[in-house]
């Protein structure tokens, strides 16, 4: 009886092991995500030595990363916005970081011309206190 009881109980624990392993790898993915999210470190990191090391650990994570990095189409080109208005804080506010800095193109995916217009608009908005020069993080 006791032998029989231990065998089935061993089954579930063995079955649970791969499941817990999956969770831990999921945790690793989550832990590795924030440094990638920090805009500036993102570019060099990808081509850096950590790139190949990351691949096998993730397994299917490569697809996940691609999913994370997509949407690299200029918002203004897509929506046919010719003029970026400095008064339109809702739009402009999307392109500043939490510190109030202008986000680089490599993070937001805005095209060169529109980034220039955006820069002008943000600077104008700062001038009349619609956007901060420097925000507390």
């Amino acid at each position: 009886m006791t032998d029989e009881a231990t065998v089935p109980s061993g089954g579930p624990t063995r079955a649970a092991e791969p499941a817990s392993g999956g969770e831990s790898s999921g945790g690793a993915r989550e832990r590795s995500a924030p440094p990638g999210g920090r805009g500036r470190s993102e570019g060099p990191r990808r081509s850096g030595p950590e790139g190949p090391g990351r691949g096998p650990r993730r397994g299917g994570g490569g697809g996940g990363r691609r999913f994370f990095r997509r949407q690299k189409v200029c918002k203004f080109c897509k929506e046919n916005i010719d003029h970026i208005d400095y008064k339109d804080v809702k739009v402009i506010g999307q392109f500043i970081g939490e510190r109030g800095k202008i986000l680089p193109r490599r993070v937001t995916g805005v095209c060169t011309g529109h980034q220039r217009d955006l820069k002008v608009a943000i600077k104008r908005a700062r001038n009349i206190a619609l956007l901060p020069f420097a925000a507390r993080a």
Partner: protein, 129 residues
């Protein structure tokens, strides 16, 4: 003839009626200097992104005016000497608008041509059928 946009921030503790009076006076100043106020837009009180003379909010007013540089200069001079005005900011907008208009026009033109080409192809297809 130029078009300018001028935004200014009035102290929040100024009463609504006084704001109206101030706006009225500024409008007259512009007209007196040979300009014309095309649009007055009161955004109302909003939070400032940073403190201006230890104020955290302000009453925003937008002027759109046409005329020469003298009209704007007069308006800015008035704004500078008016006590309850915290800050002001002016931009010339006519050139930018012209550019936008041009872009829009070009896009419409292209869309129309594409449509015409598409319609022509469709007509040919039906003729063949």
């Amino acid at each position: 003839m130029r078009t300018y946009e001028s935004v200014f921030i009035i102290r929040p503790e100024v009463a609504e009626a006084d704001v109206d009076a101030l706006v009225e006076a500024l409008q007259q100043a512009v007209t007196g200097a040979g300009g014309q106020v095309v649009k007055v837009d009161k955004w109302g009180k909003r939070l400032l992104a940073y403190r201006i003379s230890s104020q955290r909010e302000g009453f925003f007013v937008l002027f759109e005016l046409t005329g020469g540089g003298e009209a704007l200069r007069e308006l800015e001079r008035r704004l500078k000497v008016t006590e309850p005005v915290l800050k002001f900011f002016s931009v010339r907008v006519d050139l930018e608008r012209k550019k936008v208009e041009k872009l829009r026009h070009r896009r419409e033109h292209r869309a129309a041509r594409r449509q015409r080409a598409g319609a022509g192809g469709a007509a040919k297809a039906t003729a063949n059928a």
